[in-house]
Amino acid sequence: MSTKKLSIYQRFGFWISSTENKFKWALLLPTIILLALITVYPTIYAFNLALSDYNLARAADTLKGYIGLQNFREILQDPAFWSSLKTTITFTVVVICIEFFLGLGIALFLQGTVTGSKIVRTFILLPMIMAPIVVGLTWTYLYQSEFGLVTFILRKLHLMSYTTAPLADVKSALPALMVVDIWQWTPFLIMVLLAGLEALPTAPYEAARIDKASPFLIFRKITLPLLQPVILIVLVLRIMDAIRVFDIVYALTEGGPGESTDMLSMFIYRNAFYLWGIGKASAISFILLYIIMIISVILVNLLSRAKQTV
C-alpha cells in the first residue's frame, strides 16, 4: 500500500455518481446488507441477552431483566467455566500440535513421490468431509464398552482392562476425543501442506544443491520460511475449528464423564439448552468470541508479517 495521501475525489469519489462506481456498489451492497441482517443483528440481540437475567426455566415474573455485567461476573467466579476453558485449551494445543507435526512430517515425505489419483485423494479427505456428527457417532460405536472394535483391540493388546472403556473413564475420555479430532483433521493438514510444498519455487533448492547444503539446513533455511504463510493459514483455520469444536463432543461424551470433556461450546450448549440459562449462556458465548477474536488478530498479524518478509 502506498502512503500517498488520497485526494478528496479518490476518497469520496464513490458518492459522486459514475456508472463504474454505481456498478461496483450495486454488486457489493446485497452481500453487505444481507450479511449485516443475518449476522450483525443477531449478535447485538445476543449481547442484549448476555446483559439480562433471562432464564427459560424460571417464572417470567421472577426475572429481573437488564442486570448489566452480572452474568459475566458470575461466570468468572464459576469454577466450572475455568475448568471448561482449561479443557478447551488443552484439547486445542494437543490436537493442533500432533496434527501439525504429523501432517508436516508426512507431507515432507510424500512430496514429489506420488501424484495421487482422484480416488486416493477423495478417500484421504473422507474423514473431514463426513458430517462431524456421523464421525462422532461412528467413533462412539468403535469405543463402545462391550462390542466396540477399538475397545476390543485395545483389550486384546492388554492396553485396556475389561472393567473400563475409552469413554467411560475420566482419564481416557479426553484423549479418546483427541484421537477422533486427529483422525478427522490430520489428512487435511497433509493435503494442504503438500499443496503448499509443491507450489514452492525450485530455484532456491537448486542453489542449495550446488552449495551442498544438508537436508536439515535446506528445510530450516528454505522450506520453512517459504512455507510459513501456508502454515499460518492452516493453523488459523484449525485453531478456530478446534476451539469451537462441538459436534464430536456432543456425539461422544456430552461433556462427561464428570466434566472431563466439557469443552466451551458444550458448556455453553448445556447452560442454554439443558439448564435454560439463556442470559448466562450468551455471556459465556461472548467470552468465547473475545478469545477467538484475540487469537485471530494475533494470527492475522503474524500472517501479514510473514507475507511481507517472504
Binding site: F14, L28, T113, L137, V230, I233
Partner: protein, 274 residues
C-alpha cells in the same frame, strides 16, 4: 535411482496406512449397516456375516427418514443458491474494483465466517421462538447463509482474481456492457470455481448439526438431527444409525470426487492453491 525407488515404495506404504486408517471406520459403518441386531452385539466383533437390508428398510418405514432427506436436500440447495446468487456479485466487485474501505469490508466478511456457531444459535433460537419461525425450513436456510455467504465471497473473489481483467476490457471494446462483460464472459470462465463453491456450500449445509438440532423439532428436521435422534436413553439403534449415516455420506463422497481438484483451495478459503 535405487534410493528414489525405495522412497517411492515407502511413500506408497504410508499412503496405504493413511487410507486404511481413514477408511476403516467408514467401512465398519457400512458393515454395521448390513448387520442384524444379533451380529452387531457379537463379541468378538464379526467381519463375516449374512448381510441384511433390514436396517435400511426400517429407517424409512419405522423412522421416517424420507422427509428428513427431503428437508436436508431443500435446505442445503436453497442456501447454496441464495449464497451464490448474492455472494458471487459481491466477490466480483471486491476482486475487480478499488472500493472505499474494501479491505475492512472483506475482513469483516471473513470474520463472520470465523464466528463460532454456538454464539449465533442462542439469539436465533430466541428470535425464532418469538417470531414463530421455529422448526421451519426457511429459518435454517437463513441461518446456513450466515456461514455460506462469507465463504462464497472469499472463494469466488480468489477465483475471479485469477482471470485477467483484460478479458472484460476486450469484451467492452467489442460493445458489451459492464454487466454483460461479467455475465457473458467472466462468469462462464469461472464455472469450475462456481461448481466447487456450490458443492462445498452444499456439503457444509448437508452436514450441519448444531443449528439444526436447536432450531428444528419435527417438521424441518434434517438428516444429521435424525441420526442423532436414534440415540435415546432407552437404546441406541446402531444398525439404523449406520444405515442412514452411510446413505448420508455417499452423496458427499461423490461430490468430493467430482471437485477434488479445487477442494483444498476451497477448504482453505482460497488461500492455498492446491
Amino acid at each position: 535411482m535405487e534410493k528414489n525407488r525405495k522412497k517411492a515404495i515407502i511413500a506408497m506404504i504410508i499412503i496405504g496406512i493413511i487410507l486404511v486408517v481413514n477408511v476403516m471406520p467408514f467401512l465398519w459403518l457400512i458393515l454395521t449397516s448390513l448387520k442384524t441386531r444379533l451380529d452387531i452385539f457379537a463379541i468378538p466383533p464379526k467381519f463375516f456375516f449374512h448381510p441384511s437390508a433390514k436396517n435400511f428398510i426400517s429407517a424409512f418405514t419405522k423412522r421416517h427418514f424420507l422427509p428428513m432427506f427431503y428437508n436436508s436436500l431443500i435446505i442445503s440447495a436453497s442456501t447454496t443458491l441464495l449464497s451464490l446468487a448474492v455472494g458471487t456479485l459481491g466477490a466480483y466487485s471486491l476482486a475487480r474494483f478499488k472500493l472505499f474501505g474494501d479491505k475492512h469490508i472483506s475482513f469483516w466478511i471473513l470474520s463472520t465466517r470465523m464466528f463460532p456457531p454456538i454464539v449465533m444459535v442462542i439469539p436465533y433460537f430466541i428470535m425464532a421462538t418469538r417470531w414463530g419461525l421455529h422448526d421451519s425450513r426457511s429459518l435454517l436456510v437463513i441461518v446456513y447463509t450466515t456461514f455460506n455467504l462469507p465463504f462464497v465471497v472469499w472463494i469466488m473473489r480468489s477465483f475471479f482474481e485469477d482471470i485477467p481483467s483484460d478479458l472484460e476490457k476486450a469484451a467492452m471494446v467489442d460493445g458489451y456492457s459492464r454487466w454483460d462483460a461479467f455475465w457473458k464472459v467472466i462468469l462462464p470462465l469461472s464455472a469450475p470455481g462456481l461448481m466447487t463453491t456450490a458443492i462445498l456450500c452444499f456439503i457444509f449445509s448437508w452436514n450441519e448439526f448444531l443449528f439444526a438440532n436447536v432450531l428444528t423439532a419435527a417438521m424441518a428436521k434434517t438428516v444429521p438431527v435424525g441420526i442423532r435422534g436414534l440415540v435415546t436413553s432407552r437404546a441406541i439403534e446402531w444398525g439404523e444409525i449406520a444405515a442412514v449415516a452411510t446413505l448420508q455420506v455417499i452423496p458427499v463422497l461423490i461430490f468430493t470426487f467430482a471437485v477434488q481438484k479445487y477442494i483444498i483451495r476451497g477448504l482453505t478459503l482460497g488461500a492455498v492453491k492446491g
